[in-house]
C-alpha cells in the first residue's frame, strides 16, 4: 500500500511539474470544457438525465447501477448515428418524451420488470446520443470533447441517484416522486414547444 501511494504521488507530481511531448493537435482543455458544458446547457437533456438516476435509485439494486451503465453505452450508439449523418426523425420529440416517460415512472412509483426498465432507458438514450453526436463540433479535440460530454451525462445521473437515495425517508419519498412529476411536466412543456 505504501509503494502504491508513493507511485501515485510520483505520477501526480510528474503531471504537475513537467511538460509532456505532445505530437497531437487540438485543444484538450477547450474540448473537454465544451463537451462537459454541452449536456448541461440543454434543459431537456438535464431533466431526462437526472430522471434516469432518480428512477434507478428509486428502483434500488440492480437498476441503480445497471441503468447508468446502459445509458452511456447505448447513447454512444445513438451518437455514432448522429456523427455518421444517419437520419433519425423526431429526435427532439423523442428527448421531450423521454423526460415525460422517465419522470412519470418516478412519479407513479412504477416498478416494471428489469428488461423493461433497461429497454425504456436504452431506447431514449439513442435520441440523446444522436442529438449530441450530430452537434459534435469540428476543430476541437474530439476525444476530450467526448470524454467531457460523457462525464457530464454521468454526473447528471449521479446527481439523480443522490437525490433518489433520499427515498428511504418518508419526506424523501414524497420529494422524489414530486421531482419525477415535475420532470414529466417539464417534458410536456418541451413537447408543447416542439409541436
Amino acid at each position: 500500500m505504501q509503494s502504491l501511494r508513493l507511485s501515485l504521488g510520483i505520477i501526480g507530481a510528474s503531471v504537475l511539474t513537467a511538460a509532456p511531448a505532445l505530437a497531437h493537435s487540438g485543444s484538450i482543455s477547450g474540448g473537454f470544457v465544451g463537451g462537459f458544458a454541452h449536456p448541461l446547457f440543454g434543459a431537456d437533456h438535464v431533466v431526462a438525465m437526472v430522471a434516469v438516476g432518480l428512477w434507478g435509485a428509486f428502483l434500488g439494486a440492480p437498476a441503480i447501477f445497471i441503468l447508468p451503465v446502459i445509458f452511456p453505452l447505448v447513447m454512444a450508439s445513438g451518437g455514432v448515428l448522429g456523427i455518421l449523418g444517419v437520419a433519425l426523425p423526431g429526435t427532439e420529440v423523442g428527448i421531450a418524451i423521454s423526460a415525460i416517460v422517465l419522470g412519470s415512472m418516478v412519479a407513479l412509483a412504477a416498478r416494471p420488470p428489469d428488461w423493461v426498465q433497461q429497454a425504456v432507458v436504452g431506447a431514449f438514450a439513442v435520441f440523446h446520443g444522436y442529438s449530441h453526436g450530430a452537434e459534435l463540433p469540428g476543430g476541437v479535440d474530439a476525444v476530450a470533447y467526448s470524454i467531457g460530454f460523457v462525464v457530464a451525462t454521468g454526473l447528471l445521473h449521479l446527481s439523480g441517484i443522490a437525490l433518489g437515495l433520499t427515498v428511504r425517508w418518508p419526506a424523501g419519498y414524497i420529494g422524489v416522486r414530486g421531482t419525477g412529476a415535475a420532470i414529466a411536466c417539464a417534458g410536456l412543456v418541451f413537447l408543447w414547444q416542439l409541436l
Partner: protein, 197 residues
C-alpha cells in the same frame, strides 16, 4: 507519517526536474520526461490505458500478471518497430477500438478468458506505441522520447490496475463499472468521428 514523507520526497524530486535539466547528465534528458508524460496527456491514450488497467485490476490473480506482461510485450514490439521507422496509419483507430472493448468489458463485469484479456492488452500496448510518433527530427531524441513513453505507459497501467485491484466494496465495484461504460462510450464516439472524417 512515513508515507507522507515518501510522497513529499517524490514531489520535491519532481519539482526540481526543471532545475536539474540545466545540469542534465546527458543531452535529451528533457525528452525522456516529455515522453514519460505523453500517455498522461493524450486523452485517447489515457482512455486506452485506464480501461485496460481497470480490466486487468478486476481479473483473478493469474491474469493480473499475464495480461500486463502481454501489454508490455506489445509496447516493446511497437516501440522497437517505431525505432526502425515503421509506423502504421491506423494505430489511433485500433487504440480507440481497444479502449471501447476494454471499457465495455469492465462495464459488463464478467470473467474474461485468458486469451481474450491477453490479446486485448497486447493490442493496446502495440497500438499505443504506434500512436506515439515523436515530433522531433533527431533520431536520438526520438528514441529517448519513445523510451520515456514506454516507461510512462507501463507505470500508468500498473498504477491503475493496482488501485483497481484494491477496490473491493460493492459501491466501488459499481463505480468501476460505470467508469468503464463512460470510457467505452467516449471511445466509440471518437472512433465514429474519426471514421466519418
Amino acid at each position: 507519517m512515513t508515507q507522507i514523507a515518501l510522497l513529499l520526497v517524490g514531489l520535491l524530486s519532481h519539482l526540481s526536474i526543471d532545475a536539474a535539466m540545466a545540469d542534465a547528465p546527458f543531452k535529451g534528458a528533457g525528452n525522456f520526461y516529455g515522453g514519460l508524460l505523453h500517455p498522461l496527456f493524450v486523452p485517447a491514450h489515457v482512455l486506452a490505458v485506464v480501461s485496460t488497467g481497470l480490466l486487468i485490476g478486476r481479473q483473478k490473480s493469474r491474469l493480473r500478471w499475464l495480461a500486463p506482461a502481454s501489454y508490455v510485450v506489445g509496447l516493446a514490439v511497437g516501440f522497437a518497430a517505431m525505432m526502425s521507422a515503421y509506423a502504421p496509419q491506423i494505430a489511433a483507430e485500433v487504440l480507440l477500438a481497444a479502449a471501447a472493448a476494454s471499457g465495455g468489458l469492465v462495464a459488463l463485469a464478467r470473467p474474461l478468458p485468458e486469451i481474450l484479456a491477453c490479446a486485448l492488452a497486447l493490442t493496446t500496448g502495440l497500438a499505443l506505441a504506434f500512436d506515439s510518433p515523436p515530433s522531433v527530427i533527431s533520431v536520438r531524441d526520438a528514441n529517448v522520447i519513445l523510451m520515456g513513453t514506454f516507461c510512462g505507459a507501463i507505470v500508468l497501467l500498473f498504477a491503475v490496475a493496482k488501485v483497481t485491484s484494491t477496490l473491493r466494496r460493492e459501491w466501488q465495484r459499481i463505480a468501476t463499472r460505470i467508469f468503464g461504460s463512460w470510457i467505452a462510450a467516449s471511445a466509440v464516439l471518437v472512433l465514429a468521428l474519426q471514421l466519418a472524417r
